[in-house]
């Protein structure tokens, strides 16, 4: 499971960085989204990977933390997803505005001279 997750994060980051460095605004925004997914998975993995473990401790008995999943990264990911979604939506609007003003989807607002 660790291997699958790390390969998944790696592929997402690699594609995200490549797209982020491309000259078209749409590629940049997709790159940022992919990087966002990778980072969310990464935060999740920092709470250690567990399957079939509840994040909420029940009862008042003495509990063994090893049997439970870490709830904090789950809460962090939730916050990060919401914030990432909002900022991406905002960026999308700016992208459209830039397209409208400059007539091109190049990130610098003009086509490079050939």
């Amino acid at each position: 499971m660790e291997l699958v997750l790390s390969i998944g994060i790696g592929v997402l980051v690699a594609s995200g960085v490549w797209l982020l460095l491309r000259p078209r605004t749409y590629q940049v925004i997709i790159g940022l989204s992919l990087l966002g997914y990778a980072v969310n998975l990464f935060i999740f993995s920092m709470g250690r990977l567990k399957t079939n473990a509840a994040p909420v401790v029940q009862g008042v008995d003495v509990v063994d933390p090893a049997n439970f999943a870490d709830p904090i990264p789950q809460a962090l990911v939730l916050t990060a997803i919401v914030i990432g979604f909002a900022t991406t939506a905002l960026f999308l609007v700016v992208l459209l505005a830039a397209r409208g003003f400059t007539g091109t989807d190049h990130v610098d607002g003009r086509e490079p001279e050939r």
């Binding site: 990087l35 990464f42 709470g47 909002a86 003003f101």
Partner: protein, 546 residues
């Protein structure tokens, strides 16, 4: 129940949030109401932060100051989110409100009409800034950073136009990427230590096993990159001058402190996590010093090469950031004290300069282009009429006032007496040359020599380019058009500059405060103990509800 003085700590966050949300209910045409509410809010913030600075500095034991901890949710620390007020946080709160009031008053003249929801965005920006200074939790810091950045995206794009949208596109892309780095760093630190509370982290980091130390340092490094992008360290700063130049003047004036938020966090976290007792004491200070010196060089070259006043101010932000980062890199309490004074004086100076530039350039016929674009983008006929009516009282001697203000800005940025830029640089150099107190004894480090040289040279570069720009703006034009300036636009600038003069007059007490702040930062035990031992509030309701 009457809230006690301890609840003052949360007001700098709640007040702008409520006021900003309230203003959303009103139509944008109700400008007088909106401007009044936001100015009253920021004056209230000023009063609150003065009260908080008195709490943090005067109360408690005289030597150590007092750290006020506010438990949100009343969980016993280190669980849940805490707000922490110490001298540094109180100082930054005060600085924020001092910059906010002039920027808001300035915006009454013109900018508040140039696009929708100016005051709401501005107040939310203040909330994000205040929250970043107050929070004692690493992830909560991320949330407040995002609040601040989201508001600043809106403000940079305020009144639109191709140039602004283009600069805003780069600004947003860079900051989204930086936020992702922030998250990666936070996650790595959490993965090693299992906590996000800053004080608890400071306790746990010395106990991290050597094999996990590499991961922790990598996390701290990545986190640091995210803040250095905000602070504008070379080579992460190419976005900064363009964005600041493109932003509307009152927005650029408050954004002068946004770059200092990055410096603030680095100052706070590096001294808390890697203080002198830990294994990796002074982690990253070399990088800060070298990066700071490179930033000063890049900024100084940029200042010399700038053709327009806007870019000159943008690169001055870089010189100021570089000076601060390099001073922090010396890892010396005395130097940090000087750097704190430099932070205050340079931020106020740059803020005033950004406001001033717009007025000076108004006489140079560049503003008409901007206006045309603004109206076209916003597409409101009524707005157009208002521009014509209100911007246009010629004050006698306007040019003289503008010229004097410009001269004061030049003195501040170049660090010449009698303004506090000189005092701050003098303290930094003095402390760097006398390591371990004035009685000498220890050897002056080579890095102190380097810092001294770079400080003096960057001051020279600022002076040269400011005099050149001043001559071009005020002396050279033969048929100079006197810019039409409102009283509400010149007064905020004058107030900021008079304030810097007051800092020089009161340099003694202020410097003692800065020294106490720096001592607290370099010996963070009182901060850590206050947070860990913070008493929970008594809840008399608990028994009855159960």
């Amino acid at each position: 129940m009457i809230p006690g003085p301890e609840h003052l700590v949360i007001l700098p966050i709640v007040l702008p949030l409520l006021a900003g949300a309230l203003l959303l209910f009103f139509n944008d045409q109700e400008r007088v109401l909106k401007a009044t509410v936001s100015i009253v809010t920021s004056i209230a913030l000023l009063v609150i932060s003065v009260m908080l600075i008195r709490v943090a500095h005067s109360d408690g034991t005289a030597e150590n100051g007092r750290v006020v901890v506010y438990l949100l949710g009343n969980w016993p620390p280190p669980f849940a989110i805490v707000l922490v007020l110490d001298r540094l946080a109180a100082m930054m709160l005060l600085l924020t409100s001092v910059l906010a009031i002039p920027a808001l008053i300035f915006s009454i003249g013109r900018w508040q009409k140039a696009g929708p929801h100016f005051h709401t965005l501005f107040l939310l920006l203040l909330m994000g800034l205040n929250g970043s200074f107050l929070t004692g939790d690493l992830f909560n810091l991320f949330v407040f950073f995002e609040v601040m950045l989201a508001a600043s995206y809106g403000l940079v794009l305020h009144s639109s136009g191709p140039q602004r949208v283009r600069a805003g596109l780069h600004y947003i892309a860079i900051n989204l990427a930086a936020s992702l780095l922030f998250l990666i760093g936070v996650a790595m630190i959490y993965g090693v230590t299992g906590t996000l509370n800053m004080a608890d982290l400071a306790v746990r980091i010395p106990r991290v096993s050597p094999e996990s130390m590499m991961m922790l340092e990598a996390g701290a490094g990545i986190l640091g990159i995210a803040f250095l992008i905000k602070a504008g360290m070379w080579p992460l700063a190419f976005w900064l001058p363009t964005t600041y130049t493109a932003a509307p003047a009152p927005v650029a004036a408050i954004m002068a402190i946004m770059s200092k938020v990055g410096v603030y966090v680095i100052l706070r976290l590096s001294l808390l996590f890697f203080s002198e007792e830990t294994v990796s004491a002074g982690f990253g200070t070399n990088a800060l010093l070298l990066g700071g010196l490179a930033t000063i060089t890049f900024g100084a070259i940029g200042v010399l090469a700038s053709q327009s006043l806007g870019r000159l101010a943008g690169f001055s932000v870089l010189v100021s950031s570089g000076t601060l980062l390099a001073s922090l890199g010396l890892f010396e309490a005395g130097v940090t004290a000087g750097a704190l004074l430099y932070l205050v004086s340079s931020t106020v100076a740059i803020s005033a300069f950004f406001l001033l530039i717009e007025l000076v350039e108004r006489g140079q016929d560049q503003i008409s282009n901007v206006l045309a674009v603004t109206v076209e983008a916003f597409g409101d006929e009524e707005v157009d009429e208002d521009f014509e009516e209100e911007v246009g009282v010629v004050i006698p001697g306007t040019l003289a006032i503008l010229g004097i203000s410009f001269g004061a800005c030049a003195l501040l940025l170049a660090g010449l007496p009698p303004l506090p830029g000189f005092v701050a640089k003098f303290v930094i150099i003095d402390a760097g040359m006398n390591p371990g107190g004035a009685d000498g004894g220890s050897v002056i480090s080579p890095s102190a020599w380097w810092l001294t040289a770079f400080l003096i040279l960057s001051g020279l570069a600022s002076l040269i380019s400011m005099s050149r720009a001043g001559i071009r703006a005020f002396w050279a034009p033969v048929d100079a058009v006197v810019p039409r300036v409102l009283v509400t636009e010149i007064l905020p600038i004058a107030a900021l500059l008079v304030l810097t003069f007051a800092i020089t007059v009161q340099a003694g007490p202020i410097m003692r405060f800065m020294q106490a702040t720096a001592d607290n930062l370099h010996d963070p035990r009182i901060y850590i103990e206050s947070v860990i031992d913070a008493p929970r509030a008594v809840t008399p309701m608990r028994e009855t509800t159960q």
